[in-house]
């Protein structure tokens, strides 16, 4: 399974049940990675315009297969079969009370790219793969 998430400097995802931030350019980039993105209803509210082939299910990680991409926002990762993690770093610090629960030390960085978002000056896309 492959994970996609947007995080701040501290791997924060959410504060007070709301995503920390959003950026249209990031969503467009994710679409170039996959059109078939697994997500829950909360994420679909924001992503539906671009992802009409999204698989929307509250237990999407249970139904995603090995090479499928899962969008992580307000859910904990309870699966150990993750071989790739794609993170979009906001390069900003936001308040957080919910964090990405994955040990990145188990992965190696295979690519890193910086770009400007629609509302963020500098976003860094990092792809991690399991060693």
């Amino acid at each position: 399974m492959k994970i996609i998430a947007c995080v701040d400097e501290n791997l924060g995802l959410m504060f007070h049940h709301r995503r920390q931030s959003q950026d249209r350019i990031v969503r467009e980039r994710i679409k170039t990675i996959t059109k078939k993105l697994y997500m829950n209803q909360y994420s679909y509210q924001l992503y539906q315009d671009l992802f009409d082939e999204a698989i929307v299910d509250e237990k999407f990680m249970d139904i995603a297969k090995d090479n499928d991409y899962c969008l992580i926002e307000n859910v904990s990762i309870d699966c150990k079969d993750i071989d790739e993690v794609i993170l979009f770093y906001w390069n900003r610090e936001y308040p957080a009370d919910f964090y990405l629960n994955i040990d990145l030390n188990q992965f190696v960085i295979v690519s890193q790219e910086e770009f400007a978002g629609s509302s963020h000056d500098l976003i860094t896309q990092v792809i991690y793969r399991k060693e």
């Binding site: 007070h16 931030s21 959003q22 950026d23 249209r24 936001y94 308040p95 509302s119």
Partner: protein, 233 residues
């Protein structure tokens, strides 16, 4: 690190709201249940901010407007700031880089350095409403004496979240910052920060937090801003 409850301060806060914000008196005092919900702000516990009222701000439905504005309370008789309130939008955001603010001396201001503090200086001139939101530079009604920790590990996080949301969506965000002073202290114990996105009625942005005006490793005399090293960092 200091440990105390904030019951008395809440009384001061309510009075301050009534005295200082004039037009908002009715709004605040018509919500006694909201005030009761913050009857006891917890003591600082190694986290720069804590949620109040389950994270729900004290705005009412009639506060939700798409008209941009910003209002800053006049300084009180002790030279202290009061409530700062804005409806943040792209219209209120600055188009120029921030200028110098060193000429402003907020109440309780002291210039003091500690080696272990990020940037060395214990105190910053903290914008109640961050420059990136309303472009207020050296407005004395919008600057308080705040620790580096409160400024950069607390208030800035929330400002960033609101600023980036407004830039991304072109929506409005109601944003209110209330400094909380105990008695006649010149330095605030912290600030209450409330925000709510207008067009979606808080779906994307909603928070109500108290940000502590503390600096780990330093004991602060809030009456006058003087400080000394804490025994334990």
């Amino acid at each position: 690190m200091r440990k105390k409850t904030y019951k008395k301060k809440i009384y001061s806060l309510v009075v301050a709201l009534a005295v200082v914000v004039g037009g908002y008196i009715t709004t605040q005092l018509n919500q006694p249940e909201s005030v009761q919900n913050i009857e006891d702000i917890p003591a600082y516990k190694n986290k720069p901010y804590v949620e109040l009222n389950d994270g729900k701000p004290y705005f009412t439905e009639k506060d939700l407007t798409t008209k941009s504005f910003e209002k800053y309370s006049p300084l009180d008789s002790l030279g202290r700031c009061g409530v700062a309130y804005a409806n943040v939008s792209k219209k209120t955001m600055p188009t120029e880089k921030r200028g110098s603010i060193g000429q402003v001396k907020p109440s309780g201001w002291q210039t003091i350095k500690y080696d272990f503090v990020d940037g060395k200086y214990l105190y910053n001139r903290c914008h109640l409403i961050g420059y990136q939101l309303t472009g207020e530079n050296a407005n004395e009604r919008n600057l308080i004496t705040g620790t580096r920790y409160m400024n950069t590990k607390g208030m800035l996080y929330f400002e960033n979240m609101v600023a980036d949301y407004v830039k991304e969506t072109n929506n409005h965000v109601l944003y209110r910052v209330t400094p909380v002073y105990e008695g006649d202290n010149l330095v605030a114990d912290g600030v209450i920060m409330e925000a709510m996105s207008v067009e979606d009625e808080g779906l994307d942005i909603e928070f109500n937090v108290f940000v502590y005006n503390v600096q780990p490793g330093v004991n602060i005399n809030y009456a006058n801003g003087k400080s000394h090293l804490a025994k334990e960092k």
